[in-house]
């Protein structure tokens, strides 16, 4: 049976599926397409279940008050939520349409067959289409959660390669992103941001303001929030630069420049033990104590990763219009309903008066600047009413003001007995929150997660998030190993007073946790005289986990991975959240004479349950690998007391086309099994595999990301 939490809140078939008068089918969903091709996967599911041509299906961009509220598009949950809901809704609709057709054609329902939305009876020559049956009417029925869905053996489209929705529009330049929106009378806006979060506006040069005003540039000011708007985009850019060069800011205390990793280990913190199942317990943390008496080898390791950016290629944008009562916002954020609620709270408006419509944006990989830019556009629109405002953040705004993925450190200790068995395992992770999204229902106010609520008049307090208590959330995502060790001690530390603004970045804590523990497993394997593969298989009981590792081993052996002179290869594995997709990654690389890591080849083996859109799944897995390789090798947000200094692509380099490995991805088929979220599955294993491969290549086990040439030279000297 298929279960979807989205159905309980949106039980009507009409909330999901609509046959339009134009002879097309519109799919309604609360999940948004951020380049992960969710609309393609959802269209495949509906096309399959209803036997409608995939090309006739349009997946609507989510809009408050019109489409289902499925919260955020996050955590690799879209297929479980919307995919399952749409499968049930489509199956219910199919059954309803067949009943209608039987009546209309006056035949037995069992005699009916559907071929591409055309219903035909074996007992007569008459046919009827879905659209004729619907005749512009609504279904008016509930989704039947017990409905029989198509047996996977009868699937024709699920698991096949299709051209992704939007793909042709992307390649021809016809796709419209929020950044491309044009509304009558629209003004282009740009921000004038302070040097850092804590600075406040001290003085504005009145002469410049007057001159800009004469040049038809409008100024929107609300406390320390400052923006300009003009019918000419480049005039807005120049006006923002002119103001920025003359405005005076009170810098306050600035950003703390205490050593980051020192702060992670010594600042005030909330520490909680992680219980079996991966959730924290509200209980004291047991001291680490001495290793067990039987231990003959005990190893300790500390892994560190810095703040990392989402780094969208298109800086965030927002569009808004305020008519004196109602505020309409176009946003590329990951959840229109939570954004609506947060904006309404921040502006002291009723949610009825705030309407949010999703538009495509540049890929976000978590909570980037999109929500903030939407609110910024709203603030400007309130100052300049009855005028559509299209605000674009600059590259500098995006780099310096997006909420980063937190820095983390992980401390591990493991002991082996005389036979090489792992008899003791401790893993503690330190970091800031990953819960910075403007979400209702979480602790704190959603409004205070919108960055400009701290700049406007009557600024809100900065959020202080409590530790999250669910399994595999935030810092403790994948902190619990899937390996069955006899004794584990797992601890999360939510560290306070860290310097930078943070929120959810693809995988949350899993990237650090998996990188750290998968490197540490290799250390223990070497100490105990087992291979990386042998040790992992020894402590896994889940057959699907073992299968992906064995398959990876087979592929890498076939390809002689790491066998050439001067080359190293490494592997790592995780099941994302210990409940989503299984993924094993192999990396082959070389460290060249300038101490740069050159990626040669990579192998991914994944089991994501039933595969709906293999092209999309492969793109997510390979994209996750490339992004994680970039984090591992190159990325670090740099700052000082004056603010963020990583403000462009030179001061914050990311992986380029010259260092992309040749990737082979293998999907383990699981027809008929539940969907397992896969958008974040490859990232953690990639970090671990890179550490292990560098170790094999040059004998250095690096533990402080990024592993750029400076880091490798430093490690070599030590």
């Amino acid at each position: 049976m298929v279960i979807s939490p989205s159905i309980s809140s949106h039980p009507d078939v009409d909330q999901w599926i609509e046959f339009t008068p134009e002879g097309r089918l519109t799919v309604h969903t609360g999940k948004v397409d951020i380049g992960q091709r969710i609309s393609t996967a959802l269209a495949i599911i509906v096309a399959e279940e209803l036997d409608v041509n995939y090309d006739l299906i349009d997946v609507k961009r989510t809009e408050t008050g019109v489409d289902p509220d499925e919260g955020f598009t996050s955590g690799s949950m879209s297929m479980q939520h919307s995919g399952s809901a749409l499968r049930l809704a489509s199956a219910t609709a199919r059954h309803f349409l067949l009943e209608r057709a039987a009546k209309k054609l006056d035949v037995n329902i069992d005699s009916l067959e559907i071929d591409n939305s055309l219903i035909q009876s074996r007992d007569s020559n008459e046919t009827v289409t879905y659209w004729e049956l619907m005749n512009g009417n609504k279904f008016g029925i509930k989704v039947n959660e017990e409905i029989e869905i198509k047996n996977f053996e009868n699937h024709k489209l699920v698991g096949e390669r299709v051209t992704a929705k939007n793909m042709t529009d992307i390649l021809t330049g016809e796709i419209r992103y929020l950044h491309d929106i044009e509304l009558p009378g629209m003004l282009h806006a740009r921000l004038v941001r302070p040097p850092h979060y804590r600075a406040t506006l001290k003085g504005l040069d009145k002469k410049i303001i007057k001159r800009l005003d004469e040049g038809n540039v409008k100024i929107a000011k609300n406390g320390s929030f400052l923006a300009v708007a003009s019918s000419s985009e480049y005039s807005a850019i120049k006006a923002a630069r002119r103001i920025a060069s003359s405005v005076e800011w009170d810098l306050g205390d600035g950003i703390s420049s205490k050593d980051l990793y020192e702060a992670l280990s010594s600042n005030e913190r909330i520490s909680l033990p992680i219980a079996v199942g991966g959730a924290p317990e509200d209980a004291p943390v047991a001291p680490i104590g001495e290793p067990p008496a039987e231990a003959v080898i005990t190893i300790s390791s500390k892994f560190e990763k810095p703040y990392v950016m989402h780094g969208s290629i298109g800086p965030s944008a927002g569009c808004a219009i305020y008519d004196g009562k109602k505020l309409t916002i176009w946003s590329h954020n990951q959840g229109v309903y939570p954004l609506r609620n947060a904006v309404a709270e921040a502006l002291n408006m009723s949610t009825e008066d705030v309407h949010v419509i999703f538009e495509y944006g540049s890929g976000c990989y978590g909570h980037n600047g999109a929500d903030d830019a939407a609110f910024d556009a709203a603030l400007i629109a309130m100052e300049i009413p009855n005028t559509p405002i299209l605000l674009k953040w600059t590259r500098d705004d995006e780099h310096a003001w997006e909420p980063y993925g937190t820095a983390m450190s992980c401390e591990l200790r493991g002991s082996l007995d005389s036979e090489g068995n792992i008899i003791d395992w401790s893993h503690e992770s330190f970091g800031d929150t990953h819960m910075g999204r403007p979400a209702s229902g979480r602790a704190g106010s959603p409004a205070e997660k919108l960055v400009s609520t701290h700049l406007k008049e009557n600024p809100l307090n900065w959020p202080v998030m409590p530790p999250t208590m669910g399994p595999h959330v935030g810092i403790h995502r994948n902190l619990e190993p899937l390996y069955q060790f006899p004794k584990t001690r797992l601890v999360k530390h939510l560290v306070r007073d860290l310097p930078l603004r943070v929120s959810a970045l693809r995988t949350l804590g899993a990237f650090a946790n998996v990188s750290a523990l998968e490197s540490f497993i290799d250390e223990l394997a070497e100490a105990g005289g087992l291979s990386s593969i042998e040790l992992r298989l020894k402590y896994l009981v889940d057959e699907r986990a073992k299968t992906v590792i064995k398959e990876l081993d087979k592929k890498m052996k076939r390809d002689n991975a790491g066998m050439a002179e001067g080359i190293g290869s490494g592997i790592a594995f995780a099941q994302y959240k210990n409940s989503a997709a299984y993924c094993a990654v192999g990396i082959e690389l070389e460290v060249d004479e300038t101490a740069n890591v050159l990626l040669h080849r990579a192998w991914i083996v994944a089991d994501a349950g039933e595969v709906v859109d293999p092209n999309g799944l492969i793109a997510q897995l390979e994209g996750g690998l490339i992004q994680a390789a970039s984090w591992s090798l190159l990325e670090r947000v740099v700052y000082d007391s004056g603010g963020i200094t990583s403000r462009d692509w030179e001061s914050y380099p990311i992986l380029r086309f010259d260092n992309i490995p040749v990737i082979e991805t293998t999907l383990i088929e699981q027809k008929g099994k539940p969907f397992l979220g896969a958008g974040e599955a490859s990232s953690g294993p990639t970090g671990g595999a890179i550490i292990n491969a560098i170790y094999e290549a040059i004998g250095l086990r690096l533990r402080k990301m990024p592993f750029d040439a400076d880091a490798i030279r430093l490690a070599a000297m030590n």
């Binding site: 042709t168 480049y234 005039s235 290629i313 540049s362 793109a619 690998l625 992309i660």
Partner: protein, 154 residues
């Protein structure tokens, strides 16, 4: 205000705009060619790249008025009535785009590469795309598409 002519996608346009306005704003806001994307405004990411006399060039810094007399082609000018060019078709076959924000620049750069050299080496491909940033990690499928275009079906 300055007046100048721009030849874009085979058509000459008379433009009235301040002389320092970068090309991208004229393409996007005057001519409604939204294919070129604003990514950094600093010639660092390649999202705004267009063909200028057959070569891939950033459009986000240099003033539009300086392009008078040049033949400019944006991604929109590479296909007609959704009939894809060979490069676009290769990308479509491989599914070589994710969010797509960087894609128009990459398509244009690849087109420039193949116009100059139909059999680029792996190193030449990497060099041609070096200035193009992608954050979704579509690189591996982009490279597959380009190598397929170069090598054919074998």
């Amino acid at each position: 205000m300055d007046t100048f002519n721009l030849n874009v996608n085979g058509t000459s346009h008379k433009i009235e705009e301040e002389s320092d306005t970068p090309l991208i704003f004229v393409l996007r806001n005057h001519l409604k060619l939204k294919g070129p994307k604003l990514g950094c405004g600093q010639e660092q990411c390649g999202a705004c790249v267009v063909l200028v006399n057959g070569e891939a060039e950033n459009s986000c810094v240099r003033a539009a008025s300086e392009f008078e007399g040049d033949e400019i082609i944006t991604v929109e000018g590479l296909s007609e009535n959704r009939k894809l060019s060979l490069v676009q078709q290769a990308f479509q076959n491989e599914g070589a785009a994710q969010c797509g924000y960087c894609t128009s620049g990459i398509i244009v750069a690849t087109t420039a590469l193949f116009r100059e050299n139909p059999k680029p080496s792996d190193e030449e491909i990497k060099a041609a795309l070096y200035d193009h940033l992608c954050r979704c990690g579509s690189h591996s499928s982009v490279l597959k598409a380009i190598k397929f275009l170069r090598d054919g079906a074998n």
